[in-house]
C-alpha cells in the first residue's frame, strides 16, 4: 500500500542523505521525496511517499524515527489528509492538437503558462493520481517533458505536525 510519510527534520546538511541512505541501505522503496525549510529555520519538512506491506512500512517508520535528525514523523495515510503535487508538462501543440490540449487543460483546471506556436507548458496541481490522469489523457506522442514535484501533504483538521 502507498503511504505518505511526513517528517520534521533538523535543517542540517547531513539529514537528507541520512534518510536517502537509510532507504537504499535497507532496500526500501522511495516513490518521491520532497524537502524544504519551514517557518522555523531550524526545521525542514520532508514528505516521502513509499509503498510496502504493513510490516515493511512499520519498520520504515521505526527506522526513520531512530535517526537522530528526524524530530517528528507522521503517516498521513493513517488519517484524513490532503495531498498535492505540482506538475509542469511540456506538450507539442500544433494543428488540431492545440484545441484539444487547451480543452483538456480546462477540464483538469490546469493552466497554460507558456506558449509557442508549436508547444504549451501546462501547470497542474492536485493529488498525484490526478496528475497521472492528465498524463494519460494527453494524446499519444505529444508529451515532450514531464516535471513533477513529488507529493506533499498535510493532515485535515486543527492538529498540526509541530514540536
Amino acid at each position: 500500500m502507498r503511504h505518505i510519510l511526513s517528517m520534521l527534520v533538523e535543517n542540517e546538511s547531513g539529514a537528507l542523505s541520512r534518510i536517502a541512505g537509510l532507504f537504499s541501505a535497507r532496500g526500501y522503496n522511495i516513490e518521491s521525496l520532497t524537502v524544504a525549510p519551514t517557518n522555523d529555520p531550524s526545521l525542514s519538512r520532508m514528505t516521502l511517499v513509499t509503498s510496502g506491506n504493513d510490516d515493511i512500512v512499520e519498520q520504515i517508520k521505526k527506522q526513520l524515527n531512530k535517526l537522530i535528525d528526524v524530530v517528528k514523523l507522521a503517516d498521513l495515510s493513517d488519517g484524513e489528509h490532503i495531498e498535492r503535487e505540482m506538475m509542469l508538462i511540456k506538450v507539442r501543440a500544433a494543428g488540431p492538437d492545440r484545441e484539444e490540449l487547451k480543452r483538456l487543460t480546462e477540464i483538469f483546471r490546469a493552466k497554460i503558462i507558456d506558449v509557442t506556436d508549436a508547444s504549451y507548458v501546462v501547470e497542474l496541481t492536485g493529488a498525484s493520481k490526478k496528475l497521472d490522469a492528465f498524463i494519460s489523457a494527453v494524446p499519444e506522442g505529444l508529451i515532450t517533458e514531464v516535471v513533477r514535484s513529488g507529493a506533499t501533504g498535510i493532515a485535515r483538521g486543527d492538529k498540526g505536525l509541530t514540536l
Partner: protein, 614 residues
C-alpha cells in the same frame, strides 16, 4: 593560513549552557576554575578538555597531519588522560571497543583524516553491529579545502554514515564542546553505538581561542530513548509467562549491555524456566547453572534449539532475532507466543512478528517483571514445567557437544576446556572469528557478563588481539586471553608491538589448524570439499614471531602437553605469551544448522551417527 569561521551560528539545539567546569581551569591559558568568565581554549584544547571532562581514561589513537594540533594539546595533558598508540587504526577501534565491552564505559579513539578514518571503519562497523558505545574523533582537512580532494581528504561523515549511530562534522569551533558532549550522550544512551566526530584541522587551530563551556545537561529534541517499559505490557508478559507450559528465555547482548545480569538471573530462577542465550549474551546468566541450556542458533546446542522449536512462550530479552539465531523464519518457534523486550523499537517485529512487545531498557523491564511477578503471587504450572524439563533433559542427554577425547591430535574443544580449567573460569576472553570463536562459546562457560568479548554481528577477523588490549588496560590485574586462529590473528598481528610498548600480559591462545577453519567447514559441507583458498599457506613461525616482538612464544603439539603449557603461560603474569596450539585440521563445529534451514534441522557430530534429527 585559513581562518576558521568564528561567526556565532544560530543556536538550533537547546543545549543548556552551564558555568564552566572546574576542570576547565586546568590549562595555562584558562581564566580560572570558577566565576562567570569561561576559560578560553583552542579547538585542540577543547577536544582534550572535553574528553577529560567526560572522565575518559584511555584514548586509542594514531597521529597524523589533520590531528596534530589535537596531539599537541594531548601532549600537555598526558598525566590526566592516557593515549595508547596502536599500530593501525583498526586496532584503535577494536581496542576501544574491547575496553567498552569489558567496562561498560564508552571507548574513545582519535585518528587522522583520510586513511586514518578509512582504517577505522571496520572497527566502527564492528561496534555498530554489536551496539557498543564508542566515540571516534577523526581529523579532517581544513574546512576551506573540504571537497577539493585535498591530501588525505575523505568524506568521513559520508563513509561512516551507515555504520554509526550518529556522526557530526564540526564546522564551528564554538560548537565543538557541545558536539563532543552530544556524541558521548548519544553513544551511551538508549541502544548504544559508535558516534563519529569529524573535526577539520582549522577548527583545532591553536591560535583561535574561544570560551569553553562543557554542557552538563543535554537535551536533544529529536532523541528520546525509552527509559522504562510500559507497565501494562509488562504485566501482560508476566501473565503469559506464568500461564506457559513450555516456556524458554532467550537472551542476547542487550542483557549484557544494560547490565541486567542480576535481575535477569533472579527472574529466571524465580520462574524456574530454561534459558538459552545468543553468542552476544553469554554470561548474562551463569552458564554453569543447570537452568542454562547452552547457546542457541547455528552452532547452538541441540537442547536449546529444540526448546526454541517446541516452546509455547518465548521470552526474548535484549536479543534481535538475527538470522544466525532464527534459521529459516518460517520454522522459527512455530508454537510460541513471543514476548520481546528491547530498548530499540526498530528491533521489535523486524524479522519475527512479536505478540507482546515491550520497549524499554532491559534491566528496568526485567526488574519490573520481577516486581509484578512477586506482587501477583502467581506461580508457573509446576506439573507442566516438570514435564517440560523432562523433555529438555532428554534432549540434553544426547550430549550434542561430544567430541573425541582420545584423539592423538589436539582437538580444539579440548584446548578450550583446558583453558577453562587452567583459568578456573575466571578470565576475560576475547575472540577472533571462526571455528575457534564457536568452540570458545560452546566450551568455556562464562558465569559473569562482560567476560566474553567477540565480534558477533559483523564477524570481524582481527578483532581479538586489539580488543584484549583494551580489556587488559581496563583491568591490569585480571587474566585476559585472546583465542584466535592462525588466519584471524594475522589480520591485526601488528598490535603485538602495542602490547609490548604498554606491557600488556595478554595470553594469545592460537588454535592453529592451518585453515580458515569455518570456511573450510562450509566448503566441506556445501562445496563437496573443494577447499578454494581456505588453506593458509606460508604461515610464519609464530614462536619466533612472538619472540621478535619481545614476547614469549610457545608451541604445543600433543594433547598431553596442553595443560602444562597453559599453566606455564598463565604463570607468567607480566609477559604476553603466544601459545601456538596445533589442532586437528579436520575438526568441525557441531551441532550445525545450515543457513536457511529450520532450527530443528541440526547436523550433529558424525560420531553420533550422522543424522538429521527432525
Amino acid at each position: 593560513m585559513q581562518q576558521p569561521r568564528l561567526k556565532a551560528q544560530a543556536e538550533v539545539s537547546p543545549v543548556q549552557a552551564h558555568p564552566p567546569t572546574a576542570a576547565a581551569g586546568a590549562t595555562e591559558q584558562s581564566a580560572g576554575p570558577s566565576g562567570s568568565s569561561a576559560a578560553l581554549l583552542s579547538g585542540a584544547e577543547i577536544t582534550i578538555q572535553a574528553l577529560i571532562d567526560e572522565g575518559v581514561e584511555f584514548v586509542f589513537g594514531y597521529p597524523g597531519g589533520a590531528v596534530l594540533h589535537i596531539y599537541d594539546a594531548l601532549f600537555r595533558r598526558q598525566d590526566e588522560i592516557k593515549h595508547i598508540l596502536v599500530r593501525h587504526e583498526q586496532g584503535a577501534t577494536h581496542a576501544a571497543d574491547g575496553y567498552a565491552r569489558a567496562t561498560g564505559k564508552c571507548g574513545v579513539c582519535l585518528v587522522t583524516s583520510g586513511p586514518g578514518a578509512t582504517n577505522a571503519v571496520t572497527g566502527i562497523a564492528t561496534a555498530y553491529m554489536d551496539s557498543i558505545p564508542m566515540v571516534v574523533i577523526t581529523g579532517q582537512v581544513p574546512t576551506p579545502v573540504i571537497g577539493s580532494d585535498a591530501f588525505q581528504e575523505v568524506d568521513t561523515v559520508g563513509i561512516t554514515r551507515p555504520c554509526v549511530k550518529h556522526n557530526f562534522l564540526v564546522k564551528d569551533v564554538n560548537r565543538l564542546a557541545e558536539t563532543i558532549r552530544k556524541a558521548f550522550f548519544i553513544a551511551q544512551s538508549g541502544r548504544p553505538g559508535p558516534v563519529v566526530v569529524d573535526v577539520p584541522k582549522d577548527i583545532t587551530d591553536p591560535s583561535i581561542k574561544v570560551p569553553y563551556d562543557y554542557p552538563r545537561d543535554l537535551r536533544i529534541r529529536s532523541y528520546n530513548p525509552a527509559r522504562r517499559g510500559h507497565l501494562g505490557q509488562i504485566r501482560k508478559a508476566v501473565e503469559a509467562m506464568v500461564a506457559a507450559k513450555r516456556p524458554v528465555f532467550y537472551t542476547g547482548g542487550g542483557a549484557v549491555l544494560d547490565d541486567a545480569a542480576a535481575p535477569l538471573t533472579e527472574l529466571v530462577r524465580a520462574l524456574g524456566f530454561p534459558i538459552t542465550s545468543t553468542l552476544m549474551g553469554l554470561g548474562a546468566y551463569p552458564m554453569t547453572d543447570p537452568q542454562f541450556i547452552g547457546m542457541l542458533g547455528m552452532h547452538g546446542t541441540y537442547e536449546a534449539n529444540m526448546a526454541m522449536h517446541e516452546t509455547d512462550c518465548l521470552i526474548a530479552i535484549g536479543a534481535r532475532f538475527d538470522d544466525r539465531v532464527t534459521g529459516k523464519i518460517e520454522h522459527f518457534c512455530p508454537h510460541a507466543e513471543i514476548i520481546h523486550v528491547d530498548v530499540d523499537p526498530s528491533s521489535i517485529s523486524k524479522t519475527v512478528k512479536v505478540h507482546i512487545p515491550i520497549v524499554g531498557p532491559v534491566g528496568s523491564v526485567v526488574t519490573d517483571m520481577l516486581g509484578i511477578l512477586r506482587g501477583m503471587g502467581g506461580r508457573p504450572d509446576a506439573e507442566a514445567l516438570a514435564a517440560w524439563w523432562a523433555q529438555v533433559d532428554a534432549w540434553r542427554s544426547i550430549q550434542c557437544l561430544r567430541y573425541d577425547r582420545e584423539s592423538a591430535l589436539i582437538k580444539p574443544q579440548l584446548a578450550v576446556e583446558t583453558l577453562y580449567q587452567v583459568t578456573n573460569g575466571d578470565l576475560y576472553l576475547t575472540s577472533d572469528v571462526g571455528q575457534h570463536q564457536m568452540f570458545a562459546a560452546q566450551f568455556y562457560p562464562f558465569d559473569k557478563p562482560r567476560r566474553w568479548i567477540n565480534s558477533g554481528g559483523l564477524g570481524t577477523m582481527g578483532f581479538g588481539l586489539p580488543a584484549a588490549m583494551g580489556v587488559q588496560l581496563a583491568f591490569p590485574d585480571a587474566q585476559v586471553a585472546c583465542i584466535s586462529g592462525e588466519a584471524s590473528i594475522l589480520m591485526c598481528i601488528q598490535e603485538l608491538a602495542t602490547c609490548k610498548q604498554y606491557d600488556l600480559p595478554i595470553k594469545v591462545i592460537l588454535l592453529n589448524n592451518g585453515y580458515m577453519g569455518m570456511v573450510r567447514q562450509w566448503q566441506e559441507f556445501f562445496y563437496e570439499s573443494r577447499y578454494a583458498h581456505s588453506y593458509v599457506d606460508a604461515l610464519p613461525d609464530f614462536v619466533a614471531l612472538a619472540d621478535s616482538f619481545g614476547h614469549v612464544g610457545m608451541r604445543v603439539e600433543r594433547p598431553g602437553d596442553l595443560e602444562a603449557a597453559m599453566q606455564e603461560a598463565f604463570a607468567m603474569k607480566d609477559r604476553l605469551v603466544f601459545l601456538d596450539v596445533v589442532v586437528d585440521p579436520t575438526e568441525n563445529v557441531y551441532p550445525m544448522i545450515a543457513a536457511g534451514k529450520g532450527q530443528h534441522e541440526m547436523h550433529l557430530p558424525p560420531t553420533m551417527s550422522e543424522r538429521e534429527l527432525a
